[in-house]
């Protein structure tokens, strides 16, 4: 009798394991496929039926980072031999490299705006969260709801006046404008998450420090901040991922100087006809940091995606 129950439980475990693994494999195929496409040649990328095994080519990455122009065979012969492997691979297609592409710059913009807005959002967030966690604030719940509700606004709904406002203030297509905007969007998440983390730090720590002669601010910097380090780090990663992924505002408010990678990546297709390997290469380099961060965040993921409502 006992044995029977045990084996049936084991069968259940086995079966659920197999179904979950199947789902996980199906879910990961699109990502793997994109990574694989980034190292295919252009003709392999549009082969029918789709090719699983193909020659390893870095054309996608070369095309992603360079601009090229097509030349006549006569002109190609008149050139001195190529100096680098990527020049060689480009010349095989009767093309020459005319300069770097804009991808690198867009990627850099994403980094600057992402880190800048994350720093500000976490800085403001940790101060506000501390005040809400430790002090009596009139209308506390209403203010907290107000802060959260700003996050629920459809970006397109406030983009019209923000567009007009940025045009007035000369903030259109600038780092400062985008950093300010992403800070405002992220600060709600930052306040809610950090309030949860700070709530979990016992007040007794600060009280003890203050009895020892610390002022409130000293206690905040020397006792609370170090205790909240993990919370601050995971909040920062969430803010960074949001800013990194954001598309709607970036599309409407930036065009050149401060354009981030998400509105730029789709335009890679247009530059070389149907250059899917280059798109895949751009996508791969853009997604890898997020994948790494997600694995780091695993423990606090649930908290982050529910604004701290579910803590486990």
């Amino acid at each position: 009798m006992n044995n029977n129950i045990k084996t049936s439980i084991n069968y259940g475990k086995w079966a659920s394991g197999i179904i979950v693994i199947l789902y996980a494999l199906i879910t990961i195929i699109p990502l793997l496929w994109i990574f694989m496409t980034s190292v295919k040649s252009q003709s392999d990328s549009i082969a029918y039926p789709p090719k699983v095994f193909s020659e390893f080519k870095l054309d996608g990455y070369v095309n992603l980072f360079t601009t090229q122009s097509r030349q006549t065979p006569e002109y190609m012969e008149s050139l001195s031999p190529p100096e680098t492997w990527y020049e060689e691979s480009v010349r095989e297609r009767n093309m020459i490299i005319t300069g770097p592409s804009r991808y690198g710059g867009r990627y850099l913009n994403s980094l600057v705006i992402g880190f800048g807005s994350t720093f500000l959002a976490v800085f403001l967030g940790v101060l506000t969260a501390y005040a809400f966690s430790r002090f009596k604030v009139p209308l506390k719940d209403d203010i907290l709801f107000f802060i959260l509700s700003t996050r629920m606004m459809p970006p397109i709904a406030i983009s019209i006046p923000i567009f007009l406002m940025f045009r007035q203030l000369g903030l259109s297509d600038t780092y400062a404008g985008m950093i300010l905007l992403y800070t405002a969007v992220n600060v709600s998440l930052s306040v809610w998450l950090l309030k949860g983390f700070i709530d979990e730090i016992p007040r007794e720590y600060e009280d003890a420090a203050m009895i020892d002669g610390y002022t409130r601010l000293h206690a905040f910097f020397k006792v609370v901040l170090p205790q909240a380090a993990t919370g601050i780090a995971s909040t920062a990663i969430f803010c960074l991922i949001f800013a990194w992924n954001e598309y709607a505002f970036a599309l409407l408010l930036t065009s050149g100087e401060a354009q981030t990678a998400p509105p730029f990546i789709p335009t890679i297709i247009g530059e070389g006809g149907l250059d899917w390997p280059a798109v895949a290469a751009g996508t791969t380099l853009f997604l890898i940091p997020i994948l790494v961060f997600t694995i780091f965040l695993r423990k606090h993921l649930l908290r982050g995606i529910t604004f701290g409502a579910v803590r486990k």
Partner: protein, 293 residues
């Protein structure tokens, strides 16, 4: 500086955040509401602004195209959420059996939800190619239906955006349901076992009611996010073919930044915002229910 009173510190800590939100969220919102009563066009800054009262709202609410976009949005929101609930809750139940290596496979399943929706939309256009795309090939491997033009076909395009959205967000529902399942104390099941309640009975009278608040939270959040959906769908179908997948926010962007009907689209924005704000209110209530358990 370190001698400040608690009262001063409190306001010093709170006010920068509030000021920032007032400047970048509330002020623009009030401006949108004001513009929604005018015929302003942002591409003609010099032109005088005329007050038109409720004209924009009247035009919007009597326009059958606008109702069509709202219907498309509602359809997209409801079907994708039903799929995500079934798959997400199902996977959570399976994962809760704690088989060997479940933590590794959970991490794999979670990856899509952290990606940039616009970039996801871009690379799925490649996967959805009728000839060279892996999606069509995969389906034909099991059922011989011929090349599937997921993005160009009127009947398939709505499913294209639903499939991609589901691929991205099943893990979200799954993760929250899993937290719900893990919050049920084992002793409840033991007591039910003593009372000889069947597994079926245990599922419906213990598991479902205990997970429900968590599931509601996930559904509500997904509903709000999908109601606002813009980036992934713009990249994948940009509303086409025709206007089959033209969601409300995609149409709003077209009216505001392509046709430059600023006043009219501001009214549209206000209608969308009021809807989302109502949902957000419910969201916070649901959150408090979950928290207070």
């Amino acid at each position: 500086m370190f001698e400040m009173t608690d009262r001063k510190i409190k306001w010093l800590f709170i006010s920068p955040t509030i000021l920032l939100l007032l400047a970048i969220n509330i002020f623009p919102l009030i401006w949108t509401i004001y513009l929604s009563f005018t015929n302003y066009r942002a591409n003609r800054p010099g032109r005088p602004i005329d007050w038109v009262g409720l004209d924009n709202y009247r035009k919007l609410l009597t326009d059958s195209d606008v109702w069509g976009y709202l219907q498309t949005t509602a359809h997209f929101v409801s079907v994708s959420i039903i799929l995500q609930t079934i798959l997400g809750f199902g996977l959570a139940l399976l994962l809760n059996k704690n088989f060997k290596g479940h933590s590794f496979w959970t991490t794999i399943i979670l990856l899509p939800m952290m990606l940039s929706p616009a970039v996801v939309g871009t690379f799925w256009t490649y996967l959805f190619q009728p000839q060279s795309g892996i999606f069509s090939y995969f389906i034909n491997f099991f059922a011989n239906v011929g090349p599937l033009n997921m993005i160009g076909d009127v009947h398939l395009a709505p499913w294209a955006i639903i499939i991609v959205d589901t691929w991205m967000w099943v893990p979200y529902v799954m993760l929250i349901c899993l937290a719900g399942l893990r919050s049920i104390p084992g002793s409840i099941y033991e007591a039910a076992e003593v009372d000889r309640a069947s597994k079926w009975r245990q599922f419906w009278s213990i598991t479902v009611p205990m997970v429900l608040p968590f599931l509601m939270l996930a559904i509500l959040f997904r509903a709000i996010e999908n109601f606002k959906m813009f980036d992934m769908v713009v990249q994948l179908t940009s509303g086409g073919p025709g206007s089959i997948t033209e969601l409300a926010s995609i149409n709003l962007k077209r009216e505001a930044f392509e046709k430059w009907k600023t006043g009219y689209s501001s009214a549209f924005a206000v209608i969308l915002f009021v809807t989302v704000f109502g949902a957000a209110n419910m969201y916070v209530k649901a959150m408090n229910t979950v928290k207070n358990r």
